[in-house]
Structure formats: C-alpha cells, structure tokens
C-alpha cells in the first residue's frame, strides 16, 4: 500500500481550517497607560523602569549589568533562524502600565482589564479548579490572589516585584542562579527590563492539590513583555503551575521574552505547564530551566501553538542524586510560523533520570525544529536518558528538522534516542472520509491521534481545551 503525501487532497479551505482559532484572543482595548518607557532601549529606559517599580539598588544594578551583556552578545543567527534579525529593538516599548497595584479581588480590577480576562475565561477557571491566579496585562499584574488556606500554610504566590522586595531573603539567593544573565542574549534582555511574572514559594512538605495559574496578556502594539518567574519548592513539597498567554494580532511584531527559573529542593516536585497561543506576529524567545536536587523532580509540559517564532528549550539540571527531569512537548507550526523548541537535560549527579518526548506538527508551510541537548559527564554513573521526537507533516511544503545532541561520557549510563517523521497519508484520509468525516474533521482526528498520548499529560481542564482548540482549527471553516 502506498503512503503518498496527502497534499493532493488538501484544498485551500482545509489549509485554512487547520489554523488554530486565535479569534478568542484577538481583541484589544484602548491603552490608558500612566507609565510608558517609550520606544527603544537605553540606560534611561532601565532607570525609568527601576524608578517606576521602585527597585532596590541591587536590582537596578542587576538590570544595568544585564543591559551590557545583552548589547555585547551577538544575535545567534550562526545556529538559529535569520528571522531573529527582523526584531527591531529600537521600536519596541519596554514598559507599559496603568500604575495600579495588583488587585486581590476581581471586583477591584478595572472594567476593561476584567472584561479581557473574563473573555479568556480566567476568573471562571479560578473558581472551578485553581488554587491561585496571577493575571498580567502588559507589564504588570492586574490581579494576583491565592486561596487563603494556602497563605496560612505559608505558600507565597506574588508578582516578582513583590517577591524581590518583600521576600528578599528567599528570593535573592536563587534569583538569576538557575539561568544566569549571560546564558543567552534574550535572557540578558529579560534581566535588564523584566517586569511581572510570579514568585512562588512552597514551604517544606506542603503539597498543593490544585494548580496555580498565571495568564499573560499583551494588549498594546509594539510592546515587549518580559515577565520573570521564580518558583522555589522547598523539601518534599509539590506544586503544579500553569501558564497561558494570548495577544491580539497587531500590524507590527511583538516581542515576548520571559525567564523562568525553578528550584526543586530535596524530594520536591514541580510541574510547569504551558499552553502558548500567542498571535502569529509575536516573537516568543523564552528561557526556562529547573534545578532538581536530591530525589527531586522537575517536569516541563509544554504546548506551543501560537507565535511567529518560538525559541524555547526547557531544561533541567539534575544536581542531586536520583533527581528526575522531564520535558513533554507539543508544537504546532502553521504557515508563517516557526516552532523551534526542544529540551536540555544536564545530568550532574549519579543515578539521575531524564525523559524527553517531543511531538511536532507542521501544517502548510509551517516549520518545526527540535533541538535537544543531553549531557552526562564522565565521572557519573547510573544516569539514564530517553529521548523521543516525532514529527507529523501535513503536506509537502511543511518542514521539520531535528538536531539532537547527546553527549554521554563514561560507560555506566543508559541512553536511547528515537525519532520519526510521518505524514497523514492519502489512504488514511480516504479511509476516514469514507466513514463520513469531512476533510477537516479527518485531519483533526489524525492530528489529535498523533498527540493523544501527550495531551493526556496535561491537566484535564487543559487537555479538553487543547483538543477543542485543535478541533476548532481543523473543522472550523470546512464544509
């Protein structure tokens, strides 16, 4: 039986149908910013941000140092896409806010901001299944709240600005330690202008039954969002953190460059879930890394559907014995999109285990790239890594690349790597259509089937939403 590419049976309508429904996030309200750092990035921009945020001196210095690093580092087009050169750093607005402190009650949130988050379903989800929510609108959180019983147990869930000021003794020792300023150009940029994001501390032995959620919303054109998140799970604690994001589709490109640092102390467990659905003109250049101490576990569950270019390689440094690291990743690249994602697994102690499962779908002229790095040094023993990356191409213009780099020194380790590229064949489509499904429905089912085992790793509420998004995208405008 032949498995020809399905190009021949895909018409324009179906191509369109495969577009994720971004209409849900495609709306905007007029700006009413009290604070606006203007366009471009200079020392003055940094001072403006530090003044508005009333930064402690050490943070101001941290920012200025980072700006130098950012300027010194070249754009990494030697290995990454030339499209990075399209970002005009002089045109970006680095800080926008209405000057309001984050509210603890939705009743106090300004009506337009409240309506934004209601349309995105955030307050409803909070009532249904969340332990706490932070909702960021451009540079600052409009709302931040955590259930009272968790506060009583000592759980801290605040914005990064509150974290560095009010919890400096916990915040400062870890801040910038998992991801140093000089890690890469965009981490340096974030370190210079960061605003918003969460600081979370889970005390020893506290296990959160419900997830915490952050929602990042870009409302203004030409804006750059640079949230900074630090999560510390103390010994034996457990937390799941989920983030979502949307932006309206503007005429000009928008930049989102976050830094997320996770610290799982002895026996702690952190799961970090992302559903990234930025509009298709957002450059999404994000650095995410976790540190797992003895018997600790860090899991990144990552889904990238939106953006023009995403570059994101969540990592885990397994620093304590028997630490575990995992990256579960789904990427969907449509025409005009490049999802350049992957994972970094750094084994730094004996008997550490890492697992990477990545699935990408390339639609139309979309491009999905997997970059993986697994590092196991010679002096260790008993380390294990499993890497699987599968790519699904919807038609012949779609593109996928895989760049795995597995460095294993010493001979007391076990690693395995599997990669596959497949296509939705004409025969499969014909079979499904013969059962009465139209092209869009058939394609949607095939795509859902391809990622089904990974979708199950997402919390129920998110997996339902993910499936719905994919169904909508595939079926929406067909027939």
């Amino acid at each position: 039986m032949s498995y020809e590419p399905a190009t021949a049976v895909l018409d324009e309508e179906t191509h369109e149908a495969i577009n994720i429904d971004r209409s849900k996030g495609d709306f905007t309200f007029p700006e009413r910013n009290k604070f606006d750092a203007g366009r471009g990035l200079t020392e003055k921009t940094i001072d403006y941000i530090s003044d508005v945020k009333d930064d402690p001196q050490w943070v101001r210095e941290f920012r200025h140092k980072a700006l130098k690093v950012f300027r010194d580092k070249p754009t990494p087009t030697n290995w990454a896409t030339e499209d990075l050169n399209s970002i005009n750093f002089d045109e970006i607005r680095y800080y926008l806010s209405d000057g309001e402190k984050p509210k603890r009650s939705w009743d106090d949130v300004p009506p337009d901001v409240l309506e934004t988050f209601e349309r995105l379903g955030i307050p409803q989800q909070e009532r249904a299944f969340l332990a706490g929510v932070e909702a960021q609108f451009d540079s600052e959180a409009a709302y931040s709240n955590v259930k009272e019983e968790l506060t009583k147990q000592g759980v801290i869930f605040v914005t990064s600005a509150e974290g560095l000021k009010e919890h400096e003794e916990i915040f400062r020792p870890w801040f910038g330690k998992v991801i140093p300023t000089g890690d890469n150009k965009y981490a340096a940029l974030n370190s210079a202008v960061f605003s918003g994001g969460s600081f979370i501390y889970i005390p020893k032995g506290v296990k959160l039954k419900q997830p915490l959620q952050a929602y990042f919303r870009i409302n203004s054109e030409s804006f750059g969002q640079f949230e900074r998140t630090l999560i510390i799970a103390d010994e034996g604690s457990e937390v799941m953190y989920m983030e979502g994001c949307t932006a309206p589709k503007f005429e000009t490109a928008t930049l989102h460059s976050a830094v997320v640092e996770l610290v799982a102390l002895k026996g702690a467990k952190i799961q970090y879930v992302t559903v990234q659905n930025w509009s298709s003109n957002v450059f999404n250049l994000v650095t995410k890394r976790g540190l797992a101490m003895e018997d600790a576990e860090v899991r990144w569950i990552d889904c990238n559907i939106g953006s023009r270019l995403t570059m994101k390689y969540p990592g885990v440094i397994m620093k304590g014995e028997r630490a575990r690291g995992e990256v579960i990743s789904i990427a969907l690249a449509n025409t005009g999109q490049h999802q350049d994602t992957g994972a970094k697994m750094i084994h730094a102690a004996n008997n550490t285990t890492s697992n990477v499962v990545s699935k990408s779908i390339s639609v139309g002229e979309g491009r999905a790239t997997y970059r993986g790095q697994v590092h196991i040094p010679k002096h260790l023993k008993g380390c294990k890594n499993n890497t699987e990356c599968d790519a699904l191409l919807i038609n012949s213009h779609s593109r996928t690349d895989t760049y795995p780099a597995i460095t294993v020194r010493g001979n007391q380790h076990a690693t395995q790597h599997e990669a596959s590229v497949s296509q939705v064949s004409e025969e499969m489509l014909f079979y499904m259509q013969q059962r009465g499904l139209n092209e869009g429905q058939a394609m949607s089912l095939a795509v859902n089937g391809f990622i089904n085992d990974l979708v199950r790793e997402f919390p129920m509420e998110y997996s339902v939403e993910l499936k719905r998004l994919i169904d909508l995208e595939m079926e929406g405008s067909v027939g």
Binding site: E426, Y431, Q433, Q434, G436, L437, Q441, N448, F450
Partner: protein, 250 residues
C-alpha cells in the same frame, strides 16, 4: 430504490483505462457478488463508487435511489449511505476505535446535536458481542497492530454501527481463517435487510458459502462479462477463470 451503476468508465490519473463500461444495478433487499481474477477492476469499482480521488471518471454514472453522486465528495457519499469495507483498512494511530466510530456517527447528526454516550456504548457493545470482539478493543487505536482477522471484523463492526443503505465489501474474506470468516459472515448476514443493498467483491467462492448472494456477476478486464444466479459462482469454482477467455472470444 437501488445503487445503479450505468456504463461506468474510469481511468488512473495517467490515463490507463481500468473500468471500461460497467453496468450493474443493486436494488435494496438484494445481495450481489462480483467475482473475477486479480486486475479485473473489482477493487477499482468499489473505490470509484466511494469517490476515491485517484481515479478519473470518464463516462457513465452512479446513482443512489435515482440521485447522481458524481458531484458528491467522499464523505458526502458516505453520509448518503454508501459504505465500503476495505480490503486493506488504513491505520489511524492514536485514535481509539470507540472515538473513531463515534466521530463517524457524530458526523451524521445535525449541528448542535450530540451523541448520547450511554446509548452509544450499549449499541457498540451489543454489536461487538455478536462479532465476538473483546471489550478492550474499544480503547485500541484504529487498526493499529490488528491482525488481518481483527481488521476485517472491525470493518464489519463499523458497517453495523453506521447502518448504511448500500454496503460494498471488498475482498472481506481475504486473510481470514474459517472461524473468523464465519463470524464476519454472521455480522454481514445480520445486516441483510429489505432496506439495504449489498455488493460482495471476492476472488473466491468460499465467502459465498456463508453469505448467499441473490446474483453473481463475473468481471474481467474492466467489464461485467457474465451475470447469473448463485450457481455461477460454483461454475467458476469448478472451471476457474479460464472459461472467461472463451466467453470473451465467443
């Protein structure tokens, strides 16, 4: 009320002629069988009726209960009542059988109407019991890792669930041992009804011992060369397809 194929001609995309004028009428309530050697165009006929886009219809027509289906897409033909049990069913990785059949049923409902899950599973399990299928089957991905027999049973299960008006079974007996064949035949016979027409495509007479056809047609080189009653199948079994050559000469 019938599936009516009139002087149907079809070629491959490169122009190679496969069907050279096939005429066949399958009224509701009747079971017809097409027999013929490999390469006679039997499987092509089933795919062309289903609307496969790898063939070009160059002449003739197919009508369902008087309605020409030429302009209908593959899925529209399916929803209009045509079901094809595949000789080699495709695998759909990651999609469970239960979800697949449910999606196919859902596609037949008006917008906004949802399948009743309880009734659906009750119906599904009843049909699976008749076909002696394990309950675990519902969670397995469509045809993935299925044995030949399991695939064929799955085709019959889908047919029973979708309740089509016209069933075309393409080489359903191939790759089946005798026990599996009996079970599959039981399912097909349970589907026989005054409201349904069936077309069995087979190379061997064996299937027709278990599913008795009302009419038998012999196809060779893209045409129906002989038609008759069930006895024609036995004649073929006895003399092989060689006598067709004589028939063609005559």
């Amino acid at each position: 009320m019938s599936l009516h194929i009139q002087d149907l001609q079809a070629t491959l995309e490169d122009g190679t002629e496969i069907l050279k004028g096939v005429t066949l009428e399958i009224p509701k309530g009747e079971v017809h069988a097409i027999m013929g050697p490999n390469g006679s165009g039997k499987s092509t006929l089933s795919k062309v009726i289903a609307g496969h886009e790898g063939y070009v219809v160059t002449g003739g027509s197919v009508t369902i209960d008087g309605e020409d289906i030429e302009e209908m897409s593959i899925d529209e033909r399916s929803r209009a009542g045509i079901f094809l049990a595949f000789q080699y069913p495709a695998e759909v990785p990651g999609v469970s059988n239960a979800n697949f059949i449910r999606a196919a049923l859902q596609a037949r409902l008006p917008k906004g109407e949802e399948i009743d899950a309880v009734a659906y599973y009750k119906n599904l399990y009843a049909k699976m019991d008749l076909l002696e299928m394990d309950r675990k089957f519902t969670a397995r991905a469509v045809n993935e890792g299925f044995s030949g027999g399991e695939k064929k049973r799955n085709e019959i299960l889908q047919m029973m669930m979708l309740e089509p008006q016209y069933c075309i079974l393409d080489e359903t007996d191939s790759g089946l041992d005798i026990d599996a064949l009996k079970i599959v035949a039981k399912g097909v016979n349970a589907m026989r009804s005054p409201d349904r027409g069936m077309l069995l495509i087979t190379h061997y007479q064996r299937l027709l011992d278990y599913i008795k056809p009302d009419h038998v047609h012999v196809m060779a080189e893209g045409r129906i060369v002989r038609s008759g009653g069930p006895e024609l199948a036995h004649e073929l079994e006895k003399h092989g397809y060689d006598f067709l050559k004589e028939a063609a000469m005559a």
